[in-house]
Amino acid sequence: MNGGNKRKRQDMALAVSDSLSNEERIVYNMIRSKENMGIWSGELKRETTIPENIFKKVLKSLEAKQLIKQVVNVQSKGRKIFMATEFQPSKEITGGDWYSDGKLDIEFIDTLKQLSLGYLSRQKVATVDMVLKFFKESGAFTVEVSNQNLEEILKTLVLDDKVSEVKSTGFDDFAGVPPGRVCYRIKSKIGGVREEKVGAMASIPCGVCPRINFCTPDGVVSPKNCVYYDKWLDF
């Protein structure tokens, strides 16, 4: 299958390069050789050693012929990256499924998280498949959410300490889930909102102080003249 694709691509490339000028062919072949990683215009110019004015024209012409496209690189959005139109940008370039136009789609992620939390707070425990099934049945999304995507969402909820990962025993709360399967359980069932646990340090000014390393008993920053303390003790 892959071999077939390759042959097809090679044939197409030959046909394309016949219709191109010499400079266009050099630039196009260089871009194509980078496949789904694309190439930065600066690097392209350096490697092809074509004079600036011609180089710009060549790029415009190739774009007009729809042989190449510009893609956004998540790492450096300012840089122009070119890629042959037949390739889809790699994960390294786009940042993965959660990125659109080189930006992390936080809104989409948060919506998924909230919906997952809502569902988990109504259930005792749930597997990824169960949450996915709920999403599909609710019809909340027009976008396809894969099993893997959802697992990533649930794992971040575990890291946020809002959900815990447990293994099914097959009994009690886990009835209906085969033993050994990974399940997710909300940490607090009251309204799905967990009481924030605040440690001893985190509840006093020094625990959250960005200047603690500059603070000394008789220094410029000291507990005696500390503005954070003043605010804290302002009754």
């Binding site: 998540v74 992390l104 936080i106 990533e152 001893a200 340090m201 603690i212 603070c215 005696k224």
Partner: protein, 508 residues
């Protein structure tokens, strides 16, 4: 080795309790390690008499232990060693008194209070203290009875040897094979402090025995009323023996409490009841405070102990078994005994404390990445971290760098020379190192709370001399008075809470 702010906090406590001169002597001992009297005089630049008196105060309050150091070739000299832990226990005295007030009667609490205030007391001194301000002096037998109760609970102990001798360490000459097995059981050598404490403490039977020399112990004393002293000589000896509070027992008690509370919030009431029963049943078998695992106990013994408690009365054996599984202890097959990994519970509690600081100080994204690294317990690459936590790839390095700069993360750069040169940045949570760092920050915070409390108490001090009805008349005075009360309450309760965290990282 005590960290810088631990040391500063200890010196601050000694300064507020005993003044600058005693604190000067103590600071030198803490910073420089054990010193002779002459060395102390040189370093402190105080008069011999002042140093001597300071040492007497510190020894009396169990903050310094003298010992004969025979490790060097030249003639043995008495050296003095500061006991950092005991200094830090001083603000915990109300907690210790609270423990005893829940277990024993008021007389015992009164007696312990005397010991904590005075450091060390003989039976006669205790009786004198009990009689103060009373019409009829309290009989020594009454005091002895209270002391026996405290001894039976190991809340009080015989004072350690006044000047134990520290001999040079004899190299072990066993012919144990080198290899993985011997490496596994390697224990770091004891510090001088640990060795001195080890030789100074009397054996278990003498330590908690009121009349060890005559051969009957505290238990028998409390059980039989008609057990008279055998001779006048013994009675004199008994009256001259100094006693002190046994901090070790109080720390064990507080550690158990912290363990149980932690299990209660992490798991449930049932698991907490089981753990509490196990710890109660094996308390006397624990040889030190920081035991790694609970003492093995059979299911039957656990069940017997559980049903004794109020919460455990309704539990079935299956419920007990289920809770034991929750607590992560598979039964040890050969003898069907259960043991719980206590160190793990403490570590989870420490993680919670550190994570809570990260959340508040660095925000939810940093918190998520920190938790990923903490759970992974290995090096992870920046992009991998951003992907696993769904944090913007450009934002992740900045947040990770912030955590690294403040010593919360360990970072290493990796240069890979393959088809093209690439540089990776790897991150890790180095727990033991981080815990030491956080502990030092906590000492710093405790010192700051103490300093601010001192400042707030000095402020508006004239309010205390204003009569109450005058305060009630003036609104501004009332407001000031109320503020003073609330500030003291907040600072005091924060200190108590922070002290629990200090114990979690240092003593447990």
């Amino acid at each position: 080795m005590v960290s810088e702010y631990g040391l500063k906090l200890a010196v601050h406590l000694i300064t507020t309790h005993f003044g600058n001169i005693v604190a000067n002597v103590c600071e030198n001992l803490l910073r420089k390690g054990p010193l002779t009297l002459d060395q102390l005089i040189r370093f402190t630049e105080l008069k011999r008499e002042q140093v001597k008196n300071s040492l007497l105060v510190l020894v009396q309050h169990n903050c310094v232990q003298p010992f004969q150091n025979q490790q060097q070739q030249d003639a043995a000299k008495t050296e003095y060693m500061a006991l950092f832990d005991n200094i830090l226990h001083r603000p915990r005295f109300p907690k210790f008194l609270d423990i005893v007030s829940r277990k024993l009667d008021d007389e015992c609490v009164e007696l312990l209070d005397g010991l904590l205030r005075n450091g060390r007391l003989t039976l006669q001194q205790m009786a004198d203290r009990a009689s103060e301000g009373k019409e009829n002096p309290v009989a020594i037998d009454v005091v002895r009875e209270s002391l026996c109760k405290l001894l039976a609970g190991q809340y009080v102990e015989r004072c350690p040897a006044p000047e134990p001798v520290l001999f040079p360490v004899v190299e072990e000459t066993t012919t144990r094979k080198r290899g993985a097995k011997s490496a596994k059981i390697f224990q770091p050598p004891l510090t001088i402090e640990q060795r001195v404490l080890e030789v100074s403490v009397a054996g278990e039977s003498i330590r908690f025995s009121l009349t060890a020399d005559t051969g009957f112990n505290a238990d028998r004393e409390t059980n039989s009323d008609d057990c008279p002293m055998t001779s006048v000589e013994d009675a004199v000896k008994e009256e001259l023996t100094p006693w002190r509070a046994n901090f070790e027992e109080f720390m064990r008690h507080l550690r158990h409490k912290a363990l149980i509370e932690n299990v209660r919030t992490r798991l449930d009431e049932g698991a907490a009841t089981i753990l509490s029963a196990i710890l109660d049943a094996t308390r006397t078998a624990e040889r030190k405070v920081k035991v790694q695992n609970s003492v093995p106990l059979s299911l039957e013994a656990i069940f017997t102990e559980v049903v004794k408690s109020e919460n455990g009365r309704t539990m079935t054996i299956d419920r007990v078994k289920a809770s034991l599984v929750q607590l992560g202890c598979p039964s040890r097959v050969p003898d069907d005994s259960y043991t719980i990994d206590l160190k793990n519970i403490i570590e989870l509690a420490r993680n919670d404390e550190v994570e809570s600081i990260v959340l508040k100080r660095y925000g939810p994204y940093a918190y998520r990445m920190f938790r990923l690294l903490s759970k992974a317990n290995c090096f992870l690459e920046t992009d991998k971290i951003a992907e696993s936590t769904l944090v913007e790839k450009k934002e992740a390095p900045r947040l990770l760098h912030g955590l690294w700069k403040d010593n919360y993360l360990h970072m290493e750069k990796l240069q890979v020379m393959a088809s093209k040169q690439s540089r990776f940045v790897m991150w890790k949570v180095n727990k033991p190192q981080l815990w030491d760092y956080v502990l030092d920050e906590m000492y710093h915070a405790a010192l700051n709370l103490n300093l601010r409390l001192g400042l707030e108490q000095e402020k508006d001090v004239e309010l205390l001399s204003v009569p109450l009805d005058k305060i009630n008349e003036s609104k501004s005075l009332q407001k000031k008075f109320e503020r003073r009360r609330r500030v003291r309450l907040l600072l005091g309760s924060s200190l108590m809470k922070l002290d629990d965290a200090l114990m979690l990282f240092h003593d447990f």
